[in-house]
């Protein structure tokens, strides 16, 4: 099998695996980064969301052979240099967004990518960006509020 060079959270890894392995399993099983979750495996729920070159992507549906071409950021690498929490993470804690918490790494990765592209989204823009992320616990009202808070905006 070919060796793939993966750049994850600023670190380089050489992995000797099947190039068709979805990035999700390479992250979880090979690199031991368990913050990225399996929710559906078919791009339906967003639990596996990571950033490829700063853009939100579903790691369950991106092969390692493709992912190796981009800089990969996972929830473990979202906070600036591993220190201070990302504004989304802070807002999520402040507003008590998580219930079971399982979907939240994916929610936060999608929200962080949204704020990078659109620093002050309104409710419609939030809904449009976040509709690919399911939360079975139903934390959507607080997710909306937390994104506004992370953006430094009052809740609309």
């Amino acid at each position: 099998m070919p060796v793939f060079q993966l750049n994850v959270n600023g670190k380089g890894y050489a992995v000797d695996i099947d190039g068709n392995m979805p990035l999700l399993w390479a992250l979880r099983d090979i690199l031991g980064l368990k913050g990225t979750k399996l929710g559906c495996g078919v791009s339906q729920c967003g639990a596996c969301t990571v950033h490829l070159d700063g853009v939100a992507a579903r790691s369950c549906s991106v092969d390692v052979g493709v992912a190796c071409l981009s800089k990969i950021t996972t929830i473990e690498g979202l906070s600036y240099d591993g220190g201070e929490l990302h504004p989304c993470q802070k807002a999520w804690v402040d507003l008590g967004v998580p219930q079971c918490g399982f979907c939240q790494p994916g929610q936060i990765m999608t929200a962080a990518a949204l704020l990078r592209a659109n620093p002050h989204p309104n409710d419609e823009e939030i809904d449009a960006a976040m509709r690919g992320n399911i939360c079975r616990c139903g934390t959507y009202p607080r997710i909306r509020a937390a994104i506004h808070k992370a953006a430094g905006d009052a809740t609309s």
Binding site: K34, C100, I134, G138, P141
Partner: protein
């Protein structure tokens, strides 16, 4: 000292010896003994058993054991905060540690003084061939860690308070002795005791850590601790406390550090994926391992069930479906191996291979169309004489899947004859016993055989991870049994069973499909004079207990199981509902009507049935609250005014006077009981939770008010396509009122604008998490009401994933307004000022669907009598 205290104490000392989960006393030898002495003293003084939930460290820090599973309800924070609050702990010095499964240790034992007529949750003495337990449990082992029925707080609130107050009292006394002052002049605040005089004018104070030795010698009595309990206005964290409630897991969760089932890494672990028989009770005939073994990384291809094991399905409880496992070095290899394996498997699909949910619906509706073969479960007056030409309606709710965000996963390691398990489970004790049973290779224990259960528990250790949602799915440990069965075949190697979403949707324990039929006679004033109600639902106990739809059983086995089931679950016998399901909105129909007859119809079992958030309340609340609205329209009355009239002034439902045989009140007593303790020196109010329509009326009035019902109804009358709907429901001992505000446009597209929700859950211990559960429970209710449906063809579930079993998404979520409502003043008085906390996880859900259906009708839409609503209106 009574015998049971000795038992408790021994259990505690054992705990301390092995480190109490993670509290390592051993490393702080002398102070450890001091702290242990204090806790032991407390245990010995209590009228409830020593539940080892707290330990103090040498530096005065406190470790609180979270013995219940955490699945998003926030219980790890809430119960710990109850103890910390009473103890006056500084939250910065509190650590919460998750316990392993250890159900006997955390059970709560009644004091000997409890009257023998106290209604016990489980009528052991009635079960033939089983022994009456030696102790009377207030929370029995089977419930001590089982996170179901929204009971964690109700069951442990008092225990946690007593420990906290006991520690605080001992600390105060130790400080007072040190200073030579009267303890009454001292008070505790955030890990310090303050002496007489104020801080600013030279008053003394001392940290708890310097008081451990003295406190360890204190022996506050139960009476003293009871008297020292805080008043609600003194709470620091819980209730309306002045400081923010802690949320122990939030920070880990947002950083991806929280550990769920699949996140545990055990060195040398292999991952298994299982191809299962799509039909309940189907049997594996043959398979070819070759193509799967050809996939790089695949190590083993194995049948899950050993020969001679029955295949899971109807009547087989938590035994997994027949299946073949592909065990590999990583998940992706197992996934691909399973794909290669699938076409090679031959199944004998067994007696349920023709099950079709569309045909079954007709069977259910035929059953509710007549009183033939029904069981009368409640009766008052003479319905037949009063019915005349009734208003009628029939409602239908399909099978639903819980679909927790985290698909089931479990890890098992078989070594040295024992099983070690890591898993997300709502049912740690059940899972531990089953894992032990697999380790020992023994048949299941007879019900309530405590010695057998102990043997099973001793053969397995179960570590609880966080649950990525449960909703009832993870109270069924079939996936843990799968891991154990595979681990047994590959000794010494940890095996992780990983489910996909497809596995989860196709192999759930589905909420029962149900038909509800109502007939009512309306009097001249429009109010009903008689109500006939029939409910058909497949009982979970049809899946749990062997019955005549379980293949491969003798008539004697079926008959034996029937006796146990009937006696244990309130007269439930196949194919009727259990007492538990009947008590969820059927027998306790709340409306004040002169003639009432409620019947339960037959419903057979052809697929695994289990419970989903709020369970039988889902269809019972949808039926009765929709029908209330239909009656209101028939009577040309405002829906809310009519609903209040149906509820009446408020009363405690006189169920036993209306022929309800044994009302299973969420397995808790109906009556408030006052018990004299300590030779009559004090009176303990033991909580009872009567179905009380004063509280139902309270939330109905409150939700009408906060939603602005009266003004909006006037306003919407002149608007096309806008409507309000209301519904109320009591479940899991709490009361919830919901108002939905919807729009319906010319293209029949529905928008839910707002949902207003009010809950009366007694004392709201963790107000923020109560609100969160309200928000989440409302979204859950909207999700199944608008979109939820599982169908079955040729015995197999049709749906696969979130594309064909959709879950509500953010853009479909309305503005949600939630409120916590205090119980009415006269109720508070009856509880002597302390209304105990009741459920919040499930109660928000049931009233949502009928409120929305009623609102859609009010907006000029169709009268929707079945779920999902997307069949009748377009959900964008």
């Amino acid at each position: 000292m009574s015998k049971k205290f000795k038992v408790s104490r021994r259990a505690f000392l054992q705990t301390a010896g092995v480190g109490a989960g993670a509290v390592v006393f051993g490393s702080y030898l002398t102070p450890a003994l001091q702290a242990q002495g204090l806790i032991s003293n407390l245990i010995n003084g209590f009228p409830v058993s020593g539940v080892p939930v707290v330990a103090l460290k040498v530096n005065g820090d406190v470790v609180i054991i979270a013995h219940r599973p955490e699945m998003g309800q926030g219980i790890r924070s809430s119960l710990a905060a109850v103890l910390a609050d009473e103890m006056e702990a500084d939250w910065k010095r509190v650590t919460v540690k998750q316990a392993d499964a250890d159900a006997v240790k955390y059970a709560v034992i009644f004091p000997s003084e409890v009257p023998t007529n106290y209604p016990l949750p489980h009528p052991y003495e009635k079960i033939p061939g089983t022994q009456k337990p030696k102790v009377q449990y207030m929370v029995p082992p089977e419930g001590s860690q089982f996170a179901d029925s929204s009971r964690s707080m109700t069951a442990y609130y008092t225990v946690m308070r007593l420990y906290g107050a006991g520690i605080r009292l001992a600390m105060i006394r130790a400080a007072a002795k040190k200073w030579g002052v009267d303890p009454k002049e001292c008070r505790a605040e955030k890990h310090r005791v303050y002496g007489p005089g104020s801080r600013s004018i030279g008053g003394r104070s001392i940290d708890y850590r310097w008081l451990l030795l003295g406190a360890g010698k204190e022996t506050p009595t139960y009476e003293e601790i009871n008297a020292a309990l805080k008043k609600p206005e003194e709470f620091r964290y819980i209730g309306n406390g002045k400081e923010k409630m802690p949320f122990v897991d939030a920070s880990d969760m947002v950083q991806g550090k929280a550990v769920y089932g699949a996140d545990v890494d055990v060195p040398g672990m292999l991952t298994a994926m299982i191809e299962r028989c799509p039909v309940a009770n189907g049997i594996l005939l043959s398979y070819d391992a070759t193509p799967a073994l050809a996939v790089p990384g695949v190590r083993f291809v194995l049948p899950v069930l050993p020969s001679g094991y029955p295949a899971g399905g109807v009547g087989q409880g938590f035994i997994p479906h027949a299946g073949v496992a592909v065990v590999a070095t990583n998940t992706w290899a197992a996934w691909q191996g399973r794909r290669a394996l699938k076409p090679t498997i031959q199944w004998n699909k067994g007696p349920h291979k023709d099950y079709d949910s569309t045909e079954f619906r007709k069977e259910l509706e035929a059953a509710t169309a007549t009183s033939d073969k029904t069981k009368r479960v409640r009766n008052k007056g003479n319905v037949d004489a009063a019915l005349g030409t009734p208003v009628k309606a029939t409602y239908y709710v399909p099978h639903l899947a819980q679909a927790p965000m985290e698909p089931p996963a479990a890890i098992a390691l078989f070594k040295g004859g024992r099983m070690e398990v890591w898993a997300p489970t709502q049912n740690p004790d059940g899972a531990q016993q089953l894992a032990g049973q697999v380790a020992l290779g023994l048949p299941p224990c007879p019900p309530n055989d405590e010695a057998c259960q102990e043997k099973m528990r001793a053969a397995a250790t179960l570590h609880m991870t966080l649950l990525g949602g449960g909703f009832g799915r993870k109270s069924k440990p079939d996936y843990i049994v799968e891991a154990a069965l595979l681990a047994k075949q590959i000794p010494g190697v940890p095996i992780r069973v990983q489910w996909t979403r497809e596995d989860d949707i196709k192999f759930s324990y589905y909420n029962a499909a149900s038909s509800q039929h109502y007939e009512a006679a309306l009097g001249a004033d429009g109010r009903p004079t008689a109500l006939l109600q029939r409910s058909a639902l497949t009982s979970f106990f049809g899946t749990l207990f062997p019955n005549f739809d379980t293949p491969g059983l003798s008539a004697a086995q079926v008959a034996g199981a029937a006796v146990v089931r009937a006696e244990t679950f309130g007269g439930g016998e196949y194919p009727y509902a259990s007492g538990i399901e009947r008590a969820q909105g059927l027998e306790d129909m709340p409306f004040d009507i002169p003639n009432i007859r409620i019947e339960n119809c037959q419903a057979r079992n052809h697929i695994r049935v289990g419970w989903m958030r709020s369970v039988a309340n889902i269809y019972h609340a949808f039926g009765i609250c929709s029908f209330a609205d239909e009656m209101a329209h028939a009577a040309r009355r405002d829906s809310k005014d009519y609903l209040l009239e149906l509820i009446g002034a408020g009363r405690i439902l006189p169920l036993s006077a209306e022929e309800v045989a044994l009302y299973r009140n969420n397995e808790l007593p109906v009556e408030i009981i006052k018990v004299p303790f300590s030779g009559g020196k004090i009176t303990q109010v033991l909580p009872g939770f009567p179905p009380d329509t004063r509280r139902l009326r309270g939330v109905a009035e409150a939700v009408a008010k906060v939603s602005g019902w009266d003004e909006k109804v006037k306003q919407y009358k002149n608007m096309k396509g806008r409507g309000l709907g209301i519904a109320v429901h009591r479940s899991f001992l709490s009361y919830v009122g919901i108002v939905a505000d919807v729009s319906l446009n010319d293209r029949n597209e529905v928008t839910i604008n707002d949902i207003f929700g009010v809950i009366d859950c007694g004392l709201a211990v963790n107000r923020d998490r109560v609100m969160a559960q309200m928000e989440g429970g409302i979204v859950y209710g909207l999700s199944y009401a608008l979109l939820g449906e599982i169908t079955v063809k040729t015995g197999a579930v049709v749906q696969n994933n979130f594309d064909d079993y959709p879950i509500l998404r953010i853009h479909q979520t309305p503005k949600i307004h939630t409120y916590i409502q205090d119980p009415p003043a006269d109720v508070v008085k009856e509880y002597e000022g302390n209304v105990p906390p009741t459920g919040v996880g499930e109660p928000p859900t049931p009233a949502v669907a009928p409120a929305v259906a009623n609102a859609i009708f009010a907006a000029g839409g169709p009268r929707i009598r079945e779920i999902p609503f997307k069949k009748f209106v377009t959900v964008l």
